[in-house]
């Protein structure tokens, strides 16, 4: 193309500045986990792993901090359950929308997408309101107190499930669309029953997509804040615990240590998902 070298250099420089902008806060959040100081800031006092492993105050490390560890545990627990549920529902939805014809399918497809355009805060409060209304009604009429309809892990699971299912459905449906129907027909001709075909031909074809949908759902659940904030009870997941710490206690490098663990964890999972997606081509 006819662009002068000068212009091209400026363009390159812009890209470099942009990528610096992208990584700057991540580097800042990461690096100061290793600074031997009580504050996540300059000056650099030397390298330490205390913010991960030190068992004593004032530099109580992440792996000895009861509340942060409990938050991590809750996040893992919620993430696995939500991811499993939303992959199961997403697989059903993929078959429903790719393979079946039914009345009002166009409208149903819009409903499938809609959870993505509702702000997370609103999903959170609306589920909180409905659950409380049902719980109050049951309490009033039957005198039963239903704990799982009150803020807590079950409601967080429902709240995150409500929009993650859209994502998993789209990911799995995209893969199902690429499926060659001739494979199923061949298996049927060879005498396999319908369920057998599903279990031995169609589902194995979907496994990579189901795996990445699971990883994406798990990560988004793990990082989710807006919806979770409205539904959280006494067992807070890690993002909420970390936010509380930031707002109430001010920031110490232990939060940087949490950031490092979060970045490493999601980086590895993202990598795993990319590798699994790529495998069938190679």
């Amino acid at each position: 193309m006819q662009s002068s070298t000068g212009l091209r250099l400026v363009y390159r420089a812009y890209m470099v500045v942009f990528f610096l902008f992208l990584v700057a806060p991540l580097v800042a959040a990461g690096v100061f986990a290793f600074n031997d100081s009580l504050f996540p800031s300059l000056p650099w006092n030397g390298f330490t792993l205390d913010w991960f492993f030190s068992p004593v105050e004032p530099k109580l490390g992440l792996f000895h901090d009861e509340r942060l560890l409990r938050g991590l545990e809750n996040s893992l627990y919620i993430g696995v359950i939500v991811a499993a549920l939303s992959v199961a529902a997403g697989t059903c939805n993929a078959f429903l929308f790719e393979r079946r014809a039914f009345p009002l399918k166009g409208l149903a497809y819009i409903l499938l997408i809609i959870p993505l355009v509702i702000p997370g805060v609103i999903l959170g409060i609306s589920i909180l309101v409905l659950a409380s209304m049902i719980a109050n009604w049951i309490d009033l009429n039957f005198g039963l107190f239903i704990t799982w309809l009150r803020p807590g892990i079950p409601l967080i699971v429902l709240g995150q499930f409500s929009f993650l299912t859209t994502i998993t459905s789209l990911v799995i449906a995209a893969r199902l669309q690429k499926f060659d129907m001739a494979l199923e027909e061949a298996a049927l001709n060879l005498g396999a029953g319908k369920l057998r075909v599903l279990a031995t031909v169609t589902l194995p074809f979907l496994y990579p997509a189901m795996f990445s949908a699971f990883v994406v759902a798990f990560l988004v659940s793990f990082e989710n804040f807006n919806t979770t904030l409205m539904l959280v009870g006494s067992d807070a997941p890690l993002t909420i615990t970390m936010y509380d710490r930031m707002v109430k206690a001010g920031s110490t490098p232990v939060l940087n240590a949490v950031s490092v663990v979060l970045m490493l964890g999601s980086g590895l999972l993202a990598l795993a998902s990319v590798l699994v997606q790529r495998e069938p081509k190679a």
Partner: protein, 288 residues
């Protein structure tokens, strides 16, 4: 194959979908709509009417928070487009084939990191005792530390940072489909760089621009962490009001009214954007 079996399996596939959409999306929205219409008179006595909405409109603080959130979301969307377009164009058209995928993945890195960590990173960089301020003092550029948090410019910057990726992804995938011959034809016909950009590139990228803008706007208007953490107590962001009414003040009627207002407002903007550009929801949002 039996028709009954087909019907049975359709019902089985339909059930999770209906339960999900019905119980977790539609009924809850009806629920907040219902709560927003009621007014608490005493412990278990309610009146129904539009009073909460009237209160909302007549209270300047609430009204202005909505306008402020809307205005800043528009600014953030526009800036994300301006910042993101050159990046998308570079990845799609200028970078060598080999480095394209790597550049694209690099753009996605922050996507995998929690909002909270990103906001925390900015706090570490920008606050009064933070890295940037200390460095500037050490270099003798400024006399004493400056607070760079808790102002609108920082909030806008932080929001652009959070959402710019959602602009770049649809733009890149649209621009990648553009045939280079179109550009060459434009230049051969004597078009200047600006004309080619305005008459060929922008119209071609329009679907990507629209979907990027819609997603960006929705995410910004509905965001919570970035404005609250980078803007501090005075950020007056609309989602923060919803949280305050619901959780801090336990005034669910007002909170639900705010929630419905935000939902109606963002849906209206999305609808308007789709109408003006002749796109549909399914093709813009569901693509990636």
């Amino acid at each position: 194959m039996g028709r009954d079996a087909g019907k049975l399996s359709l019902t089985l596939l339909m059930t999770p979908f209906l339960l999900w959409i019905g119980l977790l999306i539609i009924l809850p929205q009806i629920g907040i709509g219902y709560v927003s219409l009621r007014e608490k008179v005493s412990y278990d006595e309610f009146h129904y009417g539009l009073k909460n909405y009237v209160d909302f409109i007549s209270e300047p603080v609430y009204r202005n928070t909505l306008f402020r959130t809307a205005w800043m979301s528009i600014v953030v969307t526009a800036l994300a487009l301006v910042v993101g377009f050159p990046v998308a164009y570079y990845i799609a058209k200028i970078a060598r084939q080999k480095s394209r995928a790597a550049l694209f993945l690099m753009c996605l890195i922050p996507l995998w990191v929690s909002d909270l960590v990103r906001a925390y990173g900015w706090i570490v960089l920008l606050r009064e005792t933070g890295v940037v301020s200390r460095t500037l003092v050490a270099l003798g550029i400024i006399g004493q530390p400056v607070e760079m948090l808790y102002n609108d410019a920082t909030v806008v910057m932080g929001l652009v940072y959070t959402v710019v990726l959602f602009m770049i992804v649809p733009l890149t995938s649209t621009l990648q489909g553009m045939d280079d011959a179109l550009l060459e034809a434009g230049y051969n016909l004597g078009g200047s760089r600006l004309t080619v950009f305005r008459r060929i590139i922008v119209p071609y990228a329009m679907p990507g621009i629209v979907s990027g803008c819609i997603i960006t706007f929705m995410l910004t208007a509905g965001s919570y962490l970035t404005p609250v953490l980078l803007g501090g107590k005075n950020s007056s962001w609309f989602t923060e009001q919803i949280y305050n009414q619901f959780i801090t003040r336990y005034n669910w009627e007002a909170g639900a009214t705010f929630g419905v207002t935000l939902l109606v407002f963002t849906s209206f903007v999305v609808w308007l954007g789709l109408k003006l550009t002749g796109q549909s929801l399914a093709t813009t949002v569901a693509k990636d």
